[in-house]
């Protein structure tokens, strides 16, 4: 599970935007090497095992195989579930983060409970949630909401807390109204960190989606797809599921980096 407690620096996460072409190709070196070694191992007959499936069979699976075709519906169901859970979780998280960061009273009243709750490993929620909401979609959605909620809240709070005091002095000297303080100082100042929170929340929501589907077996989803593959000992199905998981995660990161990089253009080139 991703460590939700450590706020990640703005530069480290968003600095990757505008990746140069040579860096992109360099990043492809390891995956390419794995593909070559994998293919060679299988086709040269170096290893004889049902665990090692030729890559081309995995890629063909969602198009030409009865079990493989279930991928599409599963993937669709997972993405819908994730978007729902993420939206609610990130919204609540950002709201709580703003409240904690803007109100001393709220921080004193709610802060300790929040920080205690977030120490609970996400997987530990599963037995509780299934007891409360059953094995259906309710539990899964709540689980996804939780996985998006904590990083969103944490990074929003952190973003507000780390706005330099210097800027608050400017705001005082300029005699900002409350509204100006919020719209000109607090929100834009916290935005880079809020975006990181959203990015991490998306990833944890995705992991949470698959985890909940895998652990709370009933229903469609990429997690259930994986679980079925394992039960039928279809290694090709399992590997396909893992591959798709990784691709979706990668796409989320890429999209966030691009979008947030553009929205934070005022930071200049942080590389």
């Amino acid at each position: 599970m991703v460590d939700l407690s450590a706020p990640i620096s703005v530069q480290a996460t968003l600095g990757r935007r505008g990746t140069r072409p040579d860096a992109f190709w360099r990043g492809l070196a390891i995956p390419a090497a794995i593909v070559i070694v994998w293919t060679a191992t299988v086709h040269l007959g170096l290893v004889e095992s049902r665990l090692l499936v030729p890559l081309e069979r995995i890629v063909a699976l969602p198009f030409f195989d009865e079990a493989g075709r279930h991928l599409w519906l599963g993937l669709g169901a997972s993405i819908v579930r994730m978007i729902g859970g993420f939206t609610l979780g990130a919204f609540l998280g950002i709201a709580l983060g703003l409240l904690l960061g803007m109100s001393r009273t709220a921080e004193r009243a709610v802060g300790p409970s929040f920080h205690a709750l977030r120490q609970i490993a996400l997987f530990a929620w599963i037995p509780l949630l299934t007891a409360w909401f059953g094995n259906g979609d309710g539990s899964k959605i709540v689980y996804i909401v939780l996985s998006a909620f904590f990083p969103a809240a944490l990074h929003t709070h952190e973003g507000l807390r780390t706005i330099p005091l210097h800027y608050f002095e400017v705001a005082r000297v300029m005699r900002f109204t409350w509204w100006q303080r919020v719209t000109r100082l607090l929100l834009p100042g916290a935005l880079p960190s809020i975006f990181i929170g959203i990015q991490i929340a998306l990833i944890t929501a995705w992991i949470g989606t698959v985890g909940s589907e895998y652990a709370m077996g009933i229903g469609r989803g990429i997690g259930s797809f994986l679980a079925e593959g394992r039960e039928q000992f279809r290694m090709d199905v399992v590997l396909l599921g893992v591959l798709v998981l990784a691709l979706v995660g990668y796409a989320i990161n890429l999209a966030c980096g691009r979008l947030f990089g553009r929205l934070l253009h005022w930071q200049g080139d942080t590389r």
């Binding site: 210097h166 300029m174 000109r184």
Partner: protein, 257 residues
Amino acid sequence: MSQQAAVQAGEATLIIRGVSKTYRVDDRPLSVLRNIALDIEPGEFVSVVGASGCGKSTLLRLIIGLDTDYDGDILLDGRRIEGPGPERGIVFQEPRLFPWLTVEDNVALGLDASGTAPRQRERSVAENIALVGLTGFEKAYPHQLSGGMAQRAAIARALVNRPEIQLLDEPLGALDSLTRAYLQKELLRIWQQERVTVIMVTHDVEEAVFLSDKVVVMEPRPGRIGAVIPIELAHPRDRAAPDFIARKERILRELQH
């Protein structure tokens, strides 16, 4: 325009009377300023020089109103300063521009707080950006500016409310010597053009003599006024002239006390 006329008519006399400031460090009182007394006339350019830790920046923080916990009185037109006000502006040592706003929007911050009409806002912003020589950079973001340009934007931001008293806290301290000399001339021009009262804290004695009507020499631990030296030379001043050098050396002698 009416605003400006009001400024010129206003008697923005600043009277500092018996001002002392004590911080508590590890539960022990630390006296930063002791018994400061100083009168500043409208339109005067006053520099404050002194070693690090003599409380000169603290004095500015008291005058701007960021710190109202002090003994004695700081009176502006007879009223005790109880917090920041539109008649006082400050330029800090660092530009402190908001990185997420363009030069234009940074300069306009002071106007937005006072609820200026859009047309007036636009005109004031353009005027002040032109005043500091940044025309053409209205839409630039702070990260795109050099140190000197950023500091000029900060000066425009402070001037936009037409303050009667402009405080400068080592405004050129972080700049290279060429930019510094250039901006000293710019400060002089802006001061003469706008007829504001300026109180500038600086480390640079030559800068103080070049710009000021009087130079306040402060002594450290606790911060107190050692001497007030009038500089009654005509502008523009020649840094190599014997009169100029004599004053500079007198101030340096005072500083070594």
